[in-house]
C-alpha cells in the first residue's frame, strides 16, 4: 500500500463521515485562521509604524537637551545652541552628516478672519525640510535670506491649510499666530496620520522669526541631524556626539544631551510590536492546540467505531504499519483540510482594514501554518493510530 493509496483511503474515510469531519476540521481551521490573521495584523501594524517613522525623515538623528533617565540630577545641563547646530554641519569633523537643523517649537493659535486653528509652530532652518522629509506641494520653501532677516513667513501642513483656508488657495495669504502676522509661502505635501498624531498639522517658520516673536532665546528644543545614508547612520551619530561632547565639555557619564536615531526608534518599536504579535500568535496557537485535541478525540472515536473494520483489515493481511499509516494519514489529511480553509478565511479577513492598519500576510506564517498542521495531525493522530494498529485481530473482529 503506497502513500497515494493511503491518502486516498484516508480521504474516503473522511468523506464517509462528512459532518464529523467538518466539525473536526473546524477547530484546526479556526486555529490556523487566527494565527495567520493575528500575525498579519501584527505585521500590518509594524508596516504602518515603520512607514510613519520613515516619513519623519530618512536617516534622522534627533538630539535633545538634558540628561538621560537615571542620570545624576545635579549634573549641569548646557543649552543646545545655534552654534552647536552650526558645528554639526561641519563637513570635516562630521563627514557623514548630510545636514543639521535646530528646531524650536511653540504652541500657537492662528487666526484668519473668523477661523482659528490651534497647533504648534516649528522654527527652524531651511535645511530642515530635507532633513525631515517635508516637501512643499504648492508654493515655495522659505530661504536662508528669510531666516537671516527674520521674515514673518511660514510653510503650513495640509491639515492647517484645509482647516483655515478650505478650498481657497493659501499661498500669499496672511495668517495671525498668537497675534503675529505671517505670510504663507507654501503648503507641504501630505504625510498622513500615524501613531504619532497628525503629521500634517504643522506650521514651519524661520527659527529667527519664531525666537524673535514667540519663544525668546532659550535652549533649542532639538537639533535634527540627517545621516548621508542608512549605512552611515551610526557613524554620523558618533561624529555628532563627539562634536557635542567636545563643545559641552562632557563625556559619556556627564553627557547633557540625548540622541535618538530613527534606526533605534524603529528597533524599539519593532521589538514591542514583535512581542505583541508573538503574544497574539501564542493565544491563537492555543486554539490550534485545542483543535489538535479535537482531532485526537475524533480519531479515538473513529478507532473505536471502526474496531471491527480494523479487525477485518488485519484478518485479510493489513500489517501494523499499514493500519498505523491509514489512521495517521487520515489525521493529517483532516488537519490539512482545516489548514487550507483556515488559510482561505485568513485571506478573506485580512482584506479588511482595521484602525488604519492594513494586515499583511507573511509567507512564513502560511508555510508555518501548513507545517504545524501536519505536525498536529502526526502528533495528535499518533495515539489513536497506535491504538488502532496494536488492536489484536480476534478481539477487533469480535467487537460489535
Amino acid at each position: 500500500m503506497n502513500l497515494m493509496e493511503s491518502i486516498r483511503s484516508g480521504w474516503q474515510a473522511i468523506l464517509a463521515n462528512r459532518l464529523r469531519s467538518v466539525l473536526t476540521t473546524l477547530g484546526i481551521m479556526i486555529g490556523v485562521a487566527a494565527v495567520i490573521v493575528l500575525v498579519a495584523f501584527g505585521q500590518g501594524a509594524r508596516n504602518a509604524v515603520t512607514g510613519s517613522i520613515e516619513s519623519l525623515g530618512t536617516n534622522l538623528i534627533t538630539i535633545f537637551p538634558g540628561t538621560g533617565p537615571g542620570a545624576d540630577p545635579s549634573l549641569p545641563v548646557k543649552d543646545l545652541t545655534i552654534e552647536d547646530a552650526v558645528a554639526l554641519n561641519d563637513p570635516i569633523s562630521a563627514p557623514d552628516v548630510a545636514g543639521a537643523a535646530p528646531t524650536k517649537r511653540a504652541p500657537v493659535t492662528c487666526t484668519l478672519g473668523s477661523t482659528s486653528h490651534s497647533t504648534s509652530i516649528t522654527g527652524t532652518w531651511p535645511g530642515y525640510f530635507a532633513i525631515s522629509n517635508s516637501a512643499v506641494d504648492a508654493g515655495t520653501y522659505f530661504t536662508n535670506a528669510d531666516e537671516l532677516d527674520g521674515r514673518r513667513v511660514v510653510v503650513i501642513g495640509k491639515t492647517v491649510a484645509e482647516d483655515m483656508f478650505g478650498e481657497a488657495d493659501p499661498i500669499g495669504q496672511q495668517i495671525n499666530c498668537n497675534g503675529v502676522p505671517f505670510a504663507v509661502l507654501g503648503v507641504l505635501a501630505p504625510k498622513g496620520a500615524s501613531g504619532f498624531g497628525d503629521q500634517d498639522d504643522v506650521i514651519i517658520a524661520p527659527l529667527s522669526t519664531v525666537r524673535n516673536h514667540l519663544t525668546g532665546y532659550g535652549s533649542l528644543d532639538t537639533i535634527a541631524v540627517q545621516a548621508k545614508s542608512s549605512q552611515t547612520q551610526s557613524l554620523a551619530q558618533d561624529q555628532a556626539v563627539a562634536i557635542l561632547d567636545q563643545r559641552h565639555g562632557v563625556d559619556i557619564t556627564t553627557r547633557d544631551f540625548q540622541v535618538f536615531n530613527q534606526a533605534s526608534l524603529l528597533d524599539t518599536v519593532n521589538q514591542a510590536i514583535g512581542i505583541f504579535t508573538a503574544l497574539l500568535g501564542a493565544v491563537a496557537a492555543i486554539s490550534l492546540l485545542v483543535g489538535g485535541i479535537g482531532i485526537t478525540n475524533i480519531m479515538l472515536v473513529s478507532v473505536t467505531e471502526r474496531t471491527r473494520e480494523i479487525g477485518i483489515r488485519k484478518a485479510i493481511g493489513a500489517s501494523r504499519r499499514v493500519i498505523l499509516m491509514q489512521f495517521l494519514i487520515e489525521a493529517i489529511v483532516l488537519s490539512l483540510i482545516g489548514a487550507f480553509f483556515g488559510l482561505v478565511i485568513a485571506f478573506l479577513v485580512t482584506q479588511i482594514e482595521v484602525a488604519g492598519i492594513k494586515p499583511t500576510i507573511i509567507p512564513l506564517s502560511v508555510v508555518g501554518a501548513f507545517g504545524i498542521s501536519v505536525g498536529i495531525g502526526l502528533f495528535f493522530g499518533s495515539w489513536p493510530a497506535n491504538r488502532a494498529a496494536s488492536l489484536r485481530p480476534i478481539e477487533a473482529l469480535r467487537h460489535e
Partner: protein, 231 residues
Amino acid sequence: MTQGTPVLDLVDIRKIYGAGDAEVRALDGVSLTVNTGDFVAIMGASGSGKSTLMNIIGALDVATTGEYHLDGIDINSLDEDALSIVRNRKIGFIFQSFNLIPRTSALANVELPLAYRGVRRGERRERAQAALAAVGLADRMHHRPNELSGGQQQRVAVARALVAQPSLLLADEPTGNLDSHATADVLSLLDAMHAEGRTIVMITHEDDVAAHAQRVVTLRDGRVSDDRRNR
C-alpha cells in the same frame, strides 16, 4: 485425489485461557492434517472449541502449545508482522457476518487484499473484477455493502477470499446468516471452488452444510471426537 504436502498440519494443539482454578482448555490436544484440494468441515456444539481452532488455523491467534505448519511454514514461530503476511498470502477468510468494509464499494473490498500485498492498481482492478464476475456479481461492483443483500455480500466476501489465490480458504459458518436460497448460492460457490482444486476448511454446526464437504471433523470439549469422510 493425489495427496501432496499437507496444506494444514496441526500437531497436539492446545489453547489454554486463564490459570489455576480458572483455567479453561479451549483446545486440548487437537491434531489435524488437511491435504491440498481437500474440503473439510469442522463441526461441533458451541463451546467445543471450533472457533478457537478457526482463529488458530487463520493465524489470528497463536496456540499455547503444539505445532502448526501452514504450507510448510511454522506459524507459531512468527511475529505479528509475519502473521499478517501469512494471512494475506496463504489464507482467504469467509466470515459468518460477511465482514466487508462498510461504506466501501464491493470492488474496493475485493481489491483490498491485493492492495496490502502491493499489487499495482491496474492489475488489482482487473483481478478484483474477474473475481467478482466469477461469483456472479459483475453488475454489482460499485455497490456498497449496505446496498447488497446478505447473499450478495457473502459472495463479495468469497470473491475477496479468492482474489489473492490463497493456499487455504477458511470459512467460518459461511451460511449462518443467510436464508436457504442464499445458502444454496454460497454452498454451490464453495463446491465449485472445491471442484477447481482449492483447499477449503469450513466451520459449521449444520449437518446439511457439512454434507457438502469431503471430510467432516467433529470437535468435542476441545478434542477431535470424530473424523470421517463423506461418500
